[in-house]
């Protein structure tokens, strides 16, 4: 089966007028993924075609890109599952562009850092926590814990585009997993960030992040849970 891959190209020195699209003819089978096609182009047609990937299997989240207008992971996106014989591939939105499909992920990590993404234990916490499999705390955290840091939610979020102080879906989701964890001792500091003007209050609940998350996480649910926790804390009811 023949398909056409329309790939966004950009090299800082060469493309003064910004990005352009280049078309590549690719042979595909029923199982060929977008990543397979990109790797094939890189090996045989143009060794300079720049994109990130690592694990090839949906573990690492390196190959996030916008495929036919929607954020997807190239390694798990089969060309046959997309409509039409032309597949358009461009880099993630809301990140500075480096080359072709490679963006600068620094803003993603910076947003993570604003919420304090590490767990901090109280000095007198028990050495090892006995945790029930059935506790509500664990269930809620488990629903939000599998983030692989791919950046697709940030690319899809309209609020991130308007407000660079807004931590965005991935960071707020991460914050929830820590605020909900009774082993963490840094919640006060995190609340002061989360309850500032540009954090929890800025999510409008459109749910674009949920639509595109490859791990099927729902950052708005985490954000709602954080709001509920904040309200309880304000009212002094736990």
């Amino acid at each position: 089966m023949a398909a056409v891959l329309r790939v966004s190209r950009y090299t800082p020195d060469a493309d003064a007028r910004g990005e352009r699209y280049e078309e590549f003819d690719v042979d595909t089978g029923p199982e060929t993924t977008v990543l397979d096609a990109l790797v094939d182009i890189q090996r045989t047609a143009d060794s300079t075609l720049a994109f990130r990937y690592a694990c090839r299997v949906g573990m690492c989240g390196s190959c996030a890109m916008v495929i036919n207008g929607r954020e997807r992971w190239a390694c798990r996106t089969r060309i046959a599952s997309l409509k039409g014989a032309t597949v358009t591939v461009r880099p993630l939105y809301h990140f500075p562009l480096i080359r072709d499909l490679v963006v600068d992920m620094t803003p993603f990590r910076a947003r993570m850092a604003t919420v304090g993404a590490a767990l901090t234990r109280t000095p007198d916490a028990p050495e090892y926590a006995i945790v029930s499999r059935e506790s509500a705390e664990r269930r809620e955290i488990d629903e939000a814990i599998e983030c692989i840091g791919c950046g697709m939610c940030v690319s899809a979020c309209t609020m991130v585009a308007r407000n660079e102080r807004f931590p965005g879906p991935a960071a707020l989701n991460r914050a929830f997993t820590l605020q909900r964890d009774h082993r963490d001792a840094d919640t006060d500091a995190r609340w002061s960030v989360l309850l500032s003007d540009d954090a929890l209050a800025r999510c409008h609940g459109q749910g674009n992040c949920t639509d595109v998350c490859p791990m099927e996480l729902a950052p708005p649910t985490s954000i709602l849970r954080l709001r509920r926790m904040a309200t309880r804390r304000l009212l002094g009811i736990g």
Partner: protein
């Protein structure tokens, strides 16, 4: 020729590689109060550790109170066919439980037993259920925890930076020189101590579970700097990977599938592993289906199923079945968990496997068997290190994780990798920091040497009509796949070395173009140098060892030979020429020898 410009950073300790071992090393060095820089080739959090699925082996004794470090030590030595560095195996077994608990203190949370303790699962070659795990995404939880903890500690991280060569001041390592993948600009890291935690060499083979990053960087950097490598002939071909469709061939199928009840069958539906139990394991392995079936529900009174024999044995068995014409349609065998476990259980315990097969192969593993076969997965050999300090044979150089050799002997048990990363990552960070603290004064970097490396790095751009680097890489992968695979012969190894020599000549004339900004063609051209270096080391050592043991099987020397069981093959390089020699294994103390005799 114009002088090449570069930026300079200075730290007490530089760690190269940010998987489990590198992150753990950086955390430990920072905790010692020295300045630490962590350099990695991809983005932080994307290193190969993230792919580790099954779990981390540690004798916590949560599921089996009978388990302890002595049994774990015995299993590890036995799995490695007794050529492991005994002291590394001992430290590993003793310290792994504390490293797991420490991860929990830093925020990880492993799956729990019904009593709320860390749950442990069965894996090949481990006497007791021993692998602490987070579903089948243990590596992700581990990397995330270490990454956030490390950042919180204030470690400087230099991402998407590739180190081309180490620098030296006299005999001592004094830094590392490389380039930013993003910009192609050069960077020098001056350091008193360098920790290599760069992982493995899998990209030298065609069918491998390893990512593009695994090009033998650390092993090569060490060799070029004058350090020894050991055990490079021992390469693990993990038995179960996807074999179909072609684009996903080589993707790992976790041993956890078998640990959780999956069994191997040939095309006649026969549980063929019963025909492949070696003498060494006869005492503890069920030799009939009835006993193996009883073992799943009564592990105390029955012997383990042979589906959970060590990886080298299972990989050879699968290869033999396929060769005898009893394989699956796409050249593998069947792995069946659907007929033993309910769909809910499979989805809960093996979520990644479920999605991987569903999305990439249209196979529902809760209903039908998987088709699996062996692929290159791990190298047991690597930089020769001192067991306690992880110091390489060049002062100021340390190595941990897959980049280091010795710990696993001739074959690694599943789950012993994640624990290795943490135990020896911590030791590398600790001893690199102590070494740096004790070293007075400053070290020099030879500016002329740096200029020479920089010029060499830019050479592909001078050859716009040169050969495509991917073509050379593909030919190397074919060579290693066909001639230095699971089963080896003298004739084929000699042919491989000849071909590698020719590939080296082609690599010296590799072409480039397209500028220095994030240019994957250029990066691949540069990685060829290390990839060819480790491929040559592997083939040379494999030719030297005239016996079969663990991850090294010679068709022309099919049995293990006791005299070979007492030596390591050691490789070193002087003036660009690689040579090898045999050296006796470190002598094991009697009290540890006694542990190996015990029937557990």
């Amino acid at each position: 020729m114009a002088t090449v410009q570069y930026e300079t950073h200075e730290h007490d300790v530089i760690v190269i590689g940010a998987g489990g071992a590198g992150l753990r090393a950086a955390i430990e060095a920072a905790a010692q109060g020295v300045s630490v820089g962590l350099v990695c080739k991809s983005l932080l959090g994307k290193a190969h550790t993230v792919m580790a699925e099954g779990g981390i082996a540690a004798a916590l004794g949560n599921v089996w109170p009978e388990d302890n470090w002595q049994v774990h030590f015995r299993d590890t030595m036995k799995g490695g066919r007794m050529v492991n560095n005994w002291r590394m195996a001992q430290l590993h077994a003793q310290e792994a439980p504390e490293r797991v608990l420490e991860l929990e203190r830093w925020g990880a949370l492993f799956d729990r037993t019904k009593d709320g303790l860390i749950s442990q699962r069965d894996f090949g070659g481990h006497r007791y259920a021993r692998l602490a795990h987070v579903g089948d995404r243990t590596g992700l939880e581990m990397i995330r925890t270490l990454q956030y903890h490390g950042i919180h500690q204030g470690i400087d991280v230099y991402m998407e930076c590739k180190i081309e060569r180490l620098t030296k001041d006299g005999d001592r390592v004094s830094g590392a020189f490389g380039y930013w993948r993003n910009s192609g600009e050069f960077v020098l890291f001056k350091a008193k101590a360098v920790v290599l935690a760069t992982g493995g060499i899998g990209k030298a083979w065609k069918i491998t579970s390893n990512s593009w990053e695994y090009t033998g960087d650390g092993q090569s950097l060490a060799l070029w700097a004058g350090a020894d490598l050991i055990d490079m002939e021992f390469v693990q071909f993990h038995p179960t990977h996807m074999v179909w469709p072609p684009s996903v061939a080589g993707l790992l199928v976790t041993e956890g599938v078998r640990g959780d009840g999956g069994t191997l069958k040939n095309k006649q539906g026969e549980r063929f592993m019963f025909n492949h139990i070696p003498d060494l394991y006869k005492g503890e392995t069920a030799d009939n289906i009835e006993e193996a079936e009883r073992w799943y529900t009564d592990k105390k009174n029955n012997r383990r199923t042979p589906d959970l024999l060590p990886r080298d044995i299972v990989a050879r068995a699968i290869r033999a079945e396929v060769k005898a014409g009893r394989g699956s349609p796409h050249g593998g065998v069947f792995l069946d968990i659907a007929s033993r476990r309910p769909a809910d259980y499979i989805r809960k315990r093996l979520p990644s496997m479920y999605h991987q097969f569903k999305e990439l192969a249209d196979v529902d593993i809760t209903k039908e068997p998987m088709e699996v076969g062996p692929a290159q997965h791990y190298v047991m050999g690597g930089v020769r290190v001192d067991a306690d300090s992880t110091a390489a044979t060049v002062p100021g150089l340390f190595a941990a994780g897959e980049a280091a050799g010795g710990m696993h002997g001739s074959n690694r048990l599943g789950g012993n990798s994640l624990s290795d990363l943490l135990v020896f990552g911590r030791r590398a960070g600790l001893h690199a920091a102590l070494y740096a603290k004790n070293l007075g004064g400053r070290l020099n970097v030879d500016a002329g040497h740096v200029q020479a490396i920089a010029r060499e790095t830019l050479e592909p751009f001078n050859r716009t009509a040169g050969e495509n680097p991917y073509a050379i890489q593909a030919d190397l992968q074919d060579t290693m796949q066909n001639l230095v695979g699971i089963i080896r012969t003298e004739e084929e190894l000699k042919e491989a070395l000849k071909k590698i020599e020719a590939l080296k000549a082609r690599a010296r004339k590799v072409g480039g173009g397209g500028g220095r900004t994030y240019n994957p063609g250029w990066h691949t051209a540069l990685d060829l140098k290390s990839l060819l270096t480790v491929a040559e080391c592997c083939a040379m050592a494999a030719l030297e060892r005239k016996e079969s043991r663990g991850g090294h099987t010679r068709e022309d020397h099919p049995y293990s030979d006791d005299t070979w069981g007492t030596v390591n093959v050691v490789l070193s390089q002087r003036d660009g020429v690689t040579s090898l020699r045999r050296e006796p294994l470190p002598k094991m103390p009697d009290e540890l020898k006694a542990l190996l005799q015990e029937r557990t």
